[in-house]
Subunit: 205 residues, 2 copies
Amino acid sequence: MNLSDINGKMSGELNIAAVSSAQYVVPYLLARFRAHYPDVHVRLKVCNRSQALERLSEQQDDLVIMAMVPEDDRLVVMPILDNELIAVVWPEHPLLSMPEPSLADFARHYVLMREPGSGVRNAFEQMAANQQVALSHCIELGTNEAIKGGVMAHLGVAVLPRLAVQLELEQGLLLSWVCLTSLSTVHGARYTPANGFLRRLLNSS
Amino acid sequence: MNLSDINGKMSGELNIAAVSSAQYVVPYLLARFRAHYPDVHVRLKVCNRSQALERLSEQQDDLVIMAMVPEDDRLVVMPILDNELIAVVWPEHPLLSMPEPSLADFARHYVLMREPGSGVRNAFEQMAANQQVALSHCIELGTNEAIKGGVMAHLGVAVLPRLAVQLELEQGLLLSWVCLTSLSTVHGARYTPANGFLRRLLNSS
């Protein structure tokens, strides 16, 4: 909140909020940032989409990294990365032996869902509503990690950000199957040293 | 909250809270529970230790799975699993070439810390205080996943629950080095169908 930039030497505090999907990516951005600005004290809050929007409206953070950014002229939005959502099932799940499983086929299984307020849940519910598919068999687990564990434990199937299941997909522990947004940085329009954060960062890559 | 058990057929809602360390384990317990009681609608809230304690005092959940349970005669506590905390560094980190690195050696590096209210942070700060080691170079990242990413991105070193880094350790992406609690189920003393939950569950293993 109180970052100062004197002769290119930045010091102070940088408060960032990230939605769950972004938490896998932000540490890599921070590592690059810290290499240039070791005197900045960084704090990362991880929350769901509705909490991120609330924090943004209350100006609690210098910068928010989120998907599905609301339309608001007072916000400066800069897309940084694709956030692909994928359907995830366990190896040998019956859906894998169907030639072209539809969303309706998927929804016939128990679906593990994030809590209300999650962007991934919103997006998935929207997609189901568009296709007039009812999501009637749901189990609510409050984080991507609990959902991953739930798929591995054969508790149900799920739609998750690809960023959340990278390692598991490589190890064949979960098998992806379908798709659908992008992660963006979001902050107020006023120029502050924190605004330059990602601009510098992305230029140094 | 409104679980009813009629002739051994359980139905209704089961609300569970789990601290971050437990989120990797609970889905496996739930999968076993659901196999016996498919008509129970399950909801899992994942939060940090201080939030779990607050929810417990407000009786928001039927059952809480947490470590470092407070002393309170009104609570029924049943240990279910060891929750080992381990120091985690990236492969080829200088600490690995020291014969017996101490906590003071560890704390000389940037340490990635969870937010205030986290049980792992509490435990680690307590250990440091006992050994009179100052934790002066800290970066705050709000989830175990962001911290894992931070270690992989060489942002810093960390103390994490072994349950959180299982897959990464197997893949050699992170290397463990030291150690330190147990996860327990906690609920009020009054008998409810939810109380029987883990007793039945643990008996069916």
